[in-house]
Structures are given as structure tokens and as C-alpha cells.
Symmetry: C2
């Protein structure tokens, strides 16, 4: 067995799915959950998602070999401070945050000499659902987990976290922190901002009801990400604001060129943009088999 | 049987699917297809999609009770002029274009005293695929077809086209031309422009390959519309440029507010935008049962 005791801090879609997957793969002897909703945690024990729970984070991490932070990004530093005294020597701390720079800064501030045992990680998996009720053990199968080790990161600690993720079916890759944050700003954070903003814009137009009534199937796909948790995405956008604003700038320059082509009736320029995009998208879809 | 002979001008995804659906529902005695690709049309006859074909549009419409225009918008007026002399008296002309103002203008220019027999229509159905190879008879089932009749439109002609669409499983609604074009600009044309532009923007970044490598499942959904035909979407964007640019302006104002909230770290304002969007999107999804 890879670990004896794993503590999962925040039992939402990701935390709950990891708990289920760890138990299904027998990667640890027991999983303890920390959260704020007593009833949900009690239900999670009854459902076998976790073995125990605590509403006190310091108590939750006691005796754990691994602590997995799976809460909204804005809570990271306070939780690290609150758990620090309860951690046993050599305990590995990892996380699942969608932005890594802010988590690493929190760890530098809060974990002090435990920093080498902090392994920043990000499973590229999820659905537009939230909460432990939506969790399932197969969530990470054939998905990528990005680990962004620091110069200080203990090599064995990093390898154990990689083993954990491979054990639940994921493929593990390494990126540096800054590169992770740039790449995710482009393919995940910016698309969420665009879709949330467009839906809000349309919902405030006068003929709102008709607009949604006559939306096609493509609209349902295009807007699916806007059913994700607003609080989680607020945290991600603020946590990764520098990379997000940089790629938003770049996008707006491209959008301005598309607008000019439309306004000027320049069909060739417009077809050129659309054709390049279709080629890139088709290539992406082929590489994913969908 | 509703019609004796139906001519489908342009045998792509929509034209091909309508041909299949008409034949399956026995709504007409024969379907003739017009197109430019001889081999594809010959194959379509072999596959039973159509009964006959012609590479000459005037010949294709001869003797037809109904002519359905299903070609890119930029070809509409020329095709109407080319077919005009071949139409039998009382022949109903209809179309499937995603923008209606431009098609109505073309009809006013090209159809002269046949205008009352022109019924502008738009089936809100499709996939990101193109071509008769991707067509299927069930495409229109439980989808909406918007008819945008003119003051001059013959009532019986309009009712026959509505019957045709109901006969292949669609729900028929009426909107006026301007309203159609505003609504579709918001839910279909603008999303296509945003996604094509974003993908082109990302594909031209230096770390392009990694960007797509680490994209999550949400990205595949969000970007699916960018696999649609660039030529078709160029035509749609130019054909509906006034409504499209108006909703793009509005969107950019909202985007600017979101940017300011991110740059200023105003979490409450950002969460407010995202929460309103999530409520609207969840409501939309519930109304569609997906």
C-alpha cells in the first residue's frame, strides 16, 4: 500500500473523486475528510467515500502521510497555517489547484521548513458539476495531472504524489509553475471568462427569453463551462490574474482584427482566420480522439 | 403526399439530411439534387439520398413543386436568378440560411413577381460536420425551424413549408426577419466568431503544442463549433454583419467590466457576473433537458 492515512481537505468534486479512487485502488489504508458541511461529510462516510471526517483541519491532518488540499484557492494559505502544527514529520502536502503561482506563494509563506514536502499539482479533470455528490472514482482515468515541482521540492515526495495519481489512472507530466499558469490561462481560464461574460451579456438583453429559446445545440456545448461553480472560478481568475490578463489582451487584439474584417466585408481575411482555427481545432480533436 | 417533386439546391449537411428525411417520411414522390461535385451527387443517388441530380440549376428546378436553397449565403442571389426562368408557375421557393435579411434582399432583387412564393426559413439544426457524407434523416427531429414570412408571402405557400418541416420532425415557429437575425447573432454567430478567434489566437502562440496538450475536456466542448465550415461561417458573418457587430459591441462592454474586476481584484463583482451567468445557463440547460 502506497500510504497509510490520507487526509483530503475539501470534499468537493475533485476531493471526493480522489477519495473514492484511492479507496477503490487500495492505495491507502484510510481516508479522512475535512470540510465545513457536517451533514455532507457524515453522508460521505455512510456512502463509503471516506472513512472518517473532522470539521477541524488541524485534527484532520493528524497522523496523515499525505494531505491533499482540494478547496477553493482563496482558502489555501489560511488552511496551510491552520494545519501546519498538526502535520507529522515527513508528511507530504499536495494540492489540486488550477493556478499554481498563488499556491506556491502561499506555501512559501505558510509552510516554512516543510516547503520541501509540498508538491504542487493540478489534475486536468472535472465536470461542470460541484460537490461530493457529483464525485466519481473514474474521474482521473486517462486524464493528465500536471506537477509543478519547485527547486526545493523533495524528490521522493514528488515521486510519491506522481505514483498516487498514476495509481488512480492519470498520466503525470511536469511543467514549471509559470508555464503551467500561462497554458491554463489560455485553454481554461480565458474560455471560462468569455463564456460567463457572454451568457451574462445575453441574459441581460431585453429579448432574453427568445434568445435562449432559439439557441442551437452548439450553444449548449459552447456554454457548458458556465455551469461551473462561480466562487471557484472567481478564485481561479483572481489567483491567475497576470497570465489571464495577458492572454485576454492577446485575444482582444485578434478579436479586433476579426471585427474589422467583418465591418469591412473582407471575406478573404475572415475565411483565413476561420480556416486556420478549424485546422488547429481539428488537429486537437484528432489528437484526443473526439 | 405533400409534394410531387422537390429540388434541393446544394447537397451538403442540411440539404442532404432534408433529402433523406423527405424520402423517409414519404413527403414527396421524388427528390432532385443540384450541386457542383459530380462524383458526390452520383454517389448520393447510389446511396438513395436523392433520386436524380443535375449540375445545371435551371434544369434541376424544372417541374419542381418546391425548391429548397441550401447553399452558402453568398451564392443565393445568383442561384435565384439562374433558376428563375426554369421554375414552374406556383413553385414554392424556400431556403435554410442562417441569416434572413440578406436572403430576403436577394429574393426581392432576383425573384420579381415570384416573391410571394418565397418562404424564408432556418432550421436550427446542424453539427460541426459538413457535406452530404455527414447527412442523416433524423437531423431535424425535435429541432426548431424558424420561418420568417414577409408581408407579401402567400399564406398557403408558408403553410406548406411549415408542413414539410413538421413532417420531418421539427417544431415550426415564426419570427420577423430582423428579430431572427438579432437572436441568431447573439446565440450562434457571435459564439462562432469568439471561438474561431480564440483558437486562431492560441494556435499562433509560441507554445502552441503544449497549450493544446494540456487542454481539459471543457475545451473540447467549448471549441467544437470551430470545426464547422469556414466558408459557410464567413458568409454568415458577412451576411449578418450589422446584428453581429451590434451584439459584439455589447459583449465587449461586458468583457471590459470583467477585465476591470479581474485587474482590480474585485472578487465580489466577478462572482456576481459569474453567478448570474450560471443561473441563466442552468435554466437554459434545464429547459433543454441537458
Amino acid at each position: 500500500m502506497l500510504f497509510d492515512r490520507v487526509a483530503i481537505i475539501g470534499l468537493g468534486l475533485i476531493g471526493g473523486s480522489l477519495a473514492r479512487a484511492l479507496k477503490r485502488a487500495s492505495l491507502c489504508a484510510s481516508v479522512i475528510g475535512y470540510g465545513r458541511r457536517d451533514a455532507a461529510l457524515r453522508q460521505a462516510v455512510r456512502d463509503g467515500v471516506i472513512d472518517h471526517y473532522s470539521l477541524d483541519v488541524r485534527e484532520a491532518v493528524e497522523g496523515a502521510d499525505v494531505v491533499v488540499l482540494a478547496t477553493p484557492l482563496s482558502t489555501t494559505e489560511n488552511l496551510m497555517r491552520a494545519m501546519n502544527e498538526g502535520l507529522k514529520p515527513g508528511c507530504i502536502i499536495t494540492d489540486v489547484g488550477s493556478a499554481k503561482g498563488v499556491v506556491v506563494a502561499a506555501a512559501r509563506n505558510a509552510l516554512a521548513d516543510r516547503l520541501p514536502f509540498f508538491v504542487p499539482a493540478h489534475p486536468i479533470a472535472g465536470t461542470e458539476q460541484s460537490g461530493v455528490e457529483a464525485s466519481f472514482a473514474e474521474l482521473f482515468e486517462d486524464h493528465v495531472v500536471i506537477i509543478t515541482p519547485l527547486a526545493e521540492t523533495d524528490r521522493d515526495a514528488g515521486e510519491k504524489i506522481a505514483e498516487m495519481w498514476r495509481g488512480v489512472g492519470a498520466e503525470v507530466v511536469e511543467l514549471d509553475v509559470e508555464h503551467h499558469d500561462e497554458v491554463l490561462a489560455a485553454t481554461s481560464h480565458l474560455p471560462h471568462v468569455l463564456v460567463y461574460t457572454l451568457i451574462d451579456c445575453l441574459a441581460r438583453m431585453q429579448d432574453k427569453q427568445e434568445i435562449f429559446d432559439y439557441a442551437a445545440g452548439g450553444f449548449a456545448d459552447f456554454t457548458r463551462v458556465a455551469s461551473s461553480s462561480p466562487e471557484m472560478w472567481r478564485d481561479i481568475c483572481l489567483a491567475n490574474s497576470a497570465s489571464l490578463l495577458a492572454v485576454l489582451d492577446r485575444f482582444e487584439q485578434h478579436l479586433e482584427r476579426a471585427r474589422q474584417a467583418i465591418a469591412a466585408g473582407e471575406g478573404d481575411r475572415l475565411a483565413e482566420i476561420f480556416s486556420r482555427a478549424k485546422r488547429a481545432r481539428d488537429e486537437f480533436a484528432r489528437s484526443r480522439g473526439r
